[in-house]
């Protein structure tokens, strides 16, 4: 009649399944707690493991990029913008320096689809499994990849 009764009795001698990330109980202040973790005074309970191919924050190698702009074309979120770096000084007589076109990715806009990675002819963009990205400032250093 009440099949749940057996379930809960069995469960009551088992451990909870919740992963208590980042701490078992809400610390007084989160930043204070994280600071303590940094100093090694407190311990952080790690998040649930993610698979290797998890799509997280992007990594971008400016030196590989050739500024083709294809990634901007396929980004559904319009998270990529073009930046033009000023003309570098000529290295020698042969060198004809040009303004460098590169891109800038706004993490706050990115939806982590990974489409830019697929299309990039130079393999300049890749994806890390990093997902702890929340901040209060969308233009913080961690939120802009360039």
């Amino acid at each position: 009649m009440f099949p749940m009764l057996k379930e809960i009795l069995v469960q009551s001698v088992k451990k909870p399944v919740t992963n208590l990330f980042p701490a078992a109980r809400l610390p007084k202040t989160i930043t204070g707690f994280l600071g303590k973790v940094g100093e090694g005074k407190a311990e952080l309970i790690p998040p649930v493991e993610t698979p290797a191919a998890m799509r997280g924050k992007l990594l971008y190698d400016r030196n590989l990029c050739n500024g083709c702009g294809l990634c901007m074309k396929v980004c559904p979120a319009h998270a990529i913008e073009q930046v033009v770096y000023p003309v570098p000084p000529a290295k020698d007589a042969e060198d004809k320096p040009r303004a460098q076109k590169r891109v800038r990715i706004y993490v706050g806009n990115c939806i982590f689809c990974g489409q830019c990675i697929d299309i990039c002819p130079k393999g300049a963009i890749s994806q890390s499994p990093d997902f702890l990205l929340a901040t209060e400032d969308r233009f913080a250093e961690s939120q802009i990849i360039e």
Partner: protein
Amino acid sequence: MAGKAPYIVPVGPIHPALKEPVHIELTVVGEEVISADFTPGQTHRGIEWMGLSRNPVQIVHLTDRICGICGVTHSLSFARAVEQIADITVPERGDYVRTIIAEFERIQSHLLWAGVAAHELGFDTLFYLAWRVREEAMDAIEVITGNRVNYDIIQIGGTRRDITEDQHAKIRKCLNTYKDLFAKLKKLFLEDAVIKSRCVGTGLLSFETAMAYSAVGPTSRASGVTADLRVDYPYCAYGDLDIKPVIPTIYGSDVNGDTYDRIVVRIFEIAQSIEIIETCLDNMPQGPVIWEEKVAKILSACKKASGEAVGRHEAPRGEAVHYVVMDGAEAPIAWKVKASSYSNLHVWPIILKGAQLADIPVIVASVDPCLSCTDRVAVTDNGSTKIFTKEQLAKMSYEKSRRMMQ
């Protein structure tokens, strides 16, 4: 209290029984609902409009965000529409991967629904249990696609990732867990005395009404309508499979079309999906998963395409339809989404009539409403809202078509 006189109980747009905003107005005498009406349109986000300034490769990931649960449904329907227009054939293996991920989506969606239904009945323990076991499917999906919720695995012409041999172990483990769990879920949902007493005979949707109102998916199947796109118009790998639409008789009961039957259908569809995934894993053909590896080539193929097409998919909640028109430009010139819930919501006034106030939440939830996918139009003019009649709407669409033909 004003005794027996009918009074109006508003449910929504914000209400604990609703997970998404919609406004339901109930006229109640005592505890009995004598009439019900609803107003959608509270959560329109203008996604189609956004799509009209993007190319299909961008849109296919935009569609993933139409619904947080049916991620693959919309991208699959949209991709199928574009593939027809651009004359792209999906390689067989791609079709199998698509099928597998679509069925995983069905499992997690039905479990999510089951949890919500339990919560609506005040059975929070069952809700936690259902959502806990749902994590298995989410994990498997994460392994395959790289994300729990926004799969982004569909691409025009196939899928973006393959299912590799080393992922099989993890997927099989998940399937086996569900096979073991199935008996327990069946018992907890279908044999509980209180759930039974509250769901049997409530929210009745007859076969005739389900047909007349074009209900789709489990909502219609629970009323005995044997309609299932996967069987009726096979696509992806469904043509190779031997599947039958799940109707309540599978649990050895008659077809009543009540809330209980809708639970039965969904619970048994989970079992069906497990079977489908297993078969697909066993029979996966070798080969590429996508028509063209280079995204730039897909882009140019789409750019050349012109024509119109309809892409359909049997979502967890029923058939979803995407209509796309392209005319050789980057962006489509028309894109229309009909989510499955759009067809199902219209039975609300019927199945709510005569219900007890206490049963409203579970009856409302029993059609598995998903409103942010459904809401397509919101007309606001300086804060005031307008309602268009059928004639006005028809006139406006004629005009629009004429503009598009020019």
